[in-house]
Symmetry: C2
Subunit: 537 residues, 2 copies
């Protein structure tokens, strides 16, 4: 029989302890809604006792009527006081959530060093606080901070701390590897031992300081833990919390536990990327399951095998987690990668081997200059279509001029663009919030009379990478631009020692691609199709 | 007795299969030298049979006389041929390395699908190839591709493949989890079984598709594997290879195996960061052991405890791996983080609580606008010193103007800067490779007569982050600049909706900090010290 595992998401609380992560109440609301589509069982929203942003979140989230249980976080009562007078516990009750997690000490060293109180008082702090939550009708979860370290130093006391919570009515006892220093074998052994001592259901909360948080969580579940605490993308203090984006598919696809519904699992990649956007943290391309490179194939031999049978180099079907296979084009690849990309575009590549070689040589030369097509599919497509005569130039740049001025504390950015469209010279000027915006505005102003759809296109991301880092402002820069017309998203690249020139290249590619795409999609745009040279589509 | 584990680094071979990673022969030489200081036992340089860059590497690396064994990579001979005529095997021998790794099939499905040959022919391919290497006097390592998947489908055949290599003289049998889909428990069980069947020493090679590569490697070592293959920072195809930067400290500090010398382990952080620089891949701040946030503390409660005893929230002493503790300043932190930072700078912060509150409020307000001080220590230091009256402004900007022009395919960037130094107006103009370089040149030209040391400062990295991603070129951008004067490295931040303005802010902070620092360090610069207002230092 498939065992159910309860998923407790703490992205909004422990996740925000990560370096560079800061979420507004608004961000938290958006993420909570997204988490609910994934089907996590608990969403820990924050600490109503410590900041007003979290109080606002708890107020607003109520009206959303999410399926997940919203939980508040706090600590056991202060030493030498009573729970009924503890401001932080009172705030939790006032926040109106159905469930709360209280962190408490279980390592004697911490009781002495951090709390600076007696072992007995700590046990009373735990017991009083849980009794208080239960009297207030709440589901109550005990986060036993530093439990594994505590157990290794003083197992009797560590277990006694858990018992205090259990006996006071705690619904879950969650064992925390707060410092992230424990190994999977130890976790398995200690969880097994705890299960013999307690009757309450056990949860696990690990950190990634040894790059073992996922393995430690799986080990605890194997030993009988039934609640898993973690964050989306493993955000969290220092090296992060256990990454739910890896844990959920591991438990569900590989270990036959039930966490969320199969249709919800398909949302995983989308949820992971959405949260990284809101948190404004770039997702490493190589992140397990949900990363952009998680099912990307670069080596020439691998690619030929993958094209024969994707099981050869893929451990699961990427669609199970909503991700997809990608064939990367790079100098390491044999011809097979480029051929497969061209075939995907419907280009007749087999018939002309000399041309294929020329294209590969050109791509290698551009990569040598610093272009990177792995992250710029649209620029690559333009390059391939041009090589096959399937695309003709929309316009020719004659010149651009860009002026940025700061005077009396005021910034002005202006661009002047001179282009030639079908023999007609167009000369425009525009202002912008910055130089790239000014250029973008001037270029679109010049093109809009020929291609009205250009106004639907917006830049959605702009990345700059300096790649000869010895002397940065004089070095080469690569600009990657991501654009969207609300239906599609595409990426383009530009390289130059001048950031404005590199941005210009990526901008132009983005617009060329947008027009190509809209011409392909709309049958009505015959005039535009002809202009773009889309002869056989 | 402490068991020795052999560390086999494949950053230069399997690592380069990672998306966005491309190393020149020169890069490979630099990384090999660095790896040698870490004391890895094998450095796999590449595949001499597949590309000329790797042949150049093998030629050049010989003269370096590294302590590590340099190894070449290739495949077992082609089907229906003989090893002596196999171009790829011949290249390996010609490369003159003392050791080689050959990858071969052990999963019957792959023999049929990818190789398209018989099971018997595959065994002969393995046996012939290893006999060939041994006849040529080389140490020979068998990489059993897809071994765990193969074993799960057809254990007899998978073991027979290993035996072919062993019986032909292979010195190591390395079990590969090529697709990265195996779990630690399975790894442990299968490695245990293999050890019962074979006499040759066993190695392990895992991939991170389930975020379990490190755990899988540790499980294999626990079951008796004595060679560990991996890459620095876990670079590699898809989700990457097993990360040696986590495996080595886990094995050595936590599990009592001997990998490298204690003094070499202290190089770990430096090696990891150096390789990420050369590979031009940004290291995630939260990377275990070696990341910039691996021992960074943000939560207010954690910080107060850490200041009492660092063991409270650190699983090891960061110095063991050459990393260090950092206290982050952010809205989540209580006053304790900022106080601790100010104390680090020798500022008298305890005596004036109202001032402390003002500073914290100012930092919160700036963070709200998008500044991030976690990655810009120098800007934070300037802010704190200013608040304590320990720093006075070097110059005042009156205006700058920046012109970028493209005409006839030629780019020109010019900047004009007007500043005021001690009442004197200085007006300069300069060209540059790009706008930021032009601004940097013009500003330094204006300042050099007052501060000659300004010419030692170089920008070493330049990062741009767009953070309202809805409409990128019109959104706010954060620029982080890293600068160096060859003795020190520091980071500064600027935020604006205009990339030029944001760059300017970070540039100015960088120069202010450089002058402050050089004034602190040099007693001779009394005139400069006075100008900077360093009254009590």
């Amino acid at each position: 029989m498939t065992q159910q595992i309860s998923i407790f998401d703490t992205t909004l609380r422990d996740g925000t302890q990560g370096e560079g992560i800061s979420l507004s109440a608004d961000d938290k609301i958006k993420i909570a809604q997204k988490l609910d589509t994934l089907g996590v069982h608990y969403i820990e929203g924050g600490n109503p006792g410590s900041n007003s942003k979290d109080i606002e979140f708890f107020k607003r989230v109520k009206s959303l009527q999410l399926r997940a249980k919203i939980t508040a976080f706090g600590s056991t009562r202060r030493k030498n006081s009573i729970a009924e007078h503890d401001a932080s516990l009172l705030r939790i009750v006032e926040s109106g959530v159905p469930a709360a997690t209280l962190v408490g000490k279980s390592w004697d060293f911490h009781v002495h060093t951090a709390l600076q109180t007696t072992l007995e008082e700590n046990l009373s702090m735990i017991a009083d606080s849980f009794a208080f939550l239960k009297r207030n009708g709440m589901e109550a979860i005990y986060d036993a901070e530093h439990f594994f370290d505590g157990y290794k130093h003083n197992p009797e006391y560590a277990i006694a701390a858990l018992r205090s919570a259990q006996d006071a009515g705690a619904d879950w006892i969650v064992l925390c590897d707060t410092n992230g220093g424990t190994l999977p074998g130890e976790i398995q052994e200690i969880v097994t031992r705890v299960r013999q001592e307690l009757t309450a259901p056990i949860g696990i909360h690990t950190h990634n300081d040894c790059e073992l948080a996922v393995a430690n969580t799986l080990a605890a579940v194997s030993a009988g833990a039934r609640q898993v605490q973690g964050t989306i993308n493993g955000y969290g203090e220092r090296c992060g919390n256990a990454n739910l984006c890896s844990i959920i598919p591991n438990l569900q696809i590989k270990m036959n536990y039930q966490c969320i519904e199969t249709e919800q699992l398909v949302q995983l990649t989308n949820v992971a990327r959405y949260v990284s956007e809101i948190a404004n943290v770039h997702m490493p391309v190589n992140q397990a399951y949900v990363g952009n490179a998680a099912f990307a194939h670069k080596g020439g031999i691998h690619v030929s095998a993958i094209l024969k049978d994707s099981k050869t180099y893929e451990h699961i079907a990427p669609e199970l987690v909503g991700n997809k296979q990608r064939i990367l084009v790079s100098e390491l690849a044999g011809q097979s990668n480029i051929i497969s990309k061209a075939q995907e575009l419907g280009l007749d590549i087999h018939s002309n081997n000399e041309k294929t070689k020329q294209i590969i040589d050109k791509i290698k030369e551009l990569e040598h200059q610093g272009y990177q097509f792995e992250g710029a599919d649209a620029s690559l497509e333009l390059l391939l279509r041009e090589a096959f005569g399937e695309y003709k130039e929309i316009f020719k740049l004659e010149s651009f001029k860009m002026l940025v001025e700061k005077s009396n504390g005021k910034m002005v950015s202006e661009a002047i663009v001179k282009i030639n469209v079908d023999g007609e010279t167009v000369y425009t000027a525009a202002e912008g919030n910055g130089p790239v915006n000014a250029l973008d505005n001037a270029l679109r102003k010049a093109l809009v009379q020929f291609y009205p759809r250009i106004m639907d296109v917006h830049l959605s991301d702009y990345k700059v990478r300096v790649f000869d880092e010895i002397d940065a402002t004089a070095a080469k820069v690569r600009v990657l631009i991501e654009s969207t017309d609300f239906n599609n998203t595409w990426s383009t690249v530009g390289v130059s020692s001048n950031i404005i020139e590199a941005s210009w290249q990526a901008l132009v590619d983005s617009i060329r691609y947008a027009l190509l795409n809209s011409a392909k999609q709309e049958n009505s745009g015959n005039d535009q199709r002809e202009r773009l040279g889309l002869i056989n589509h």
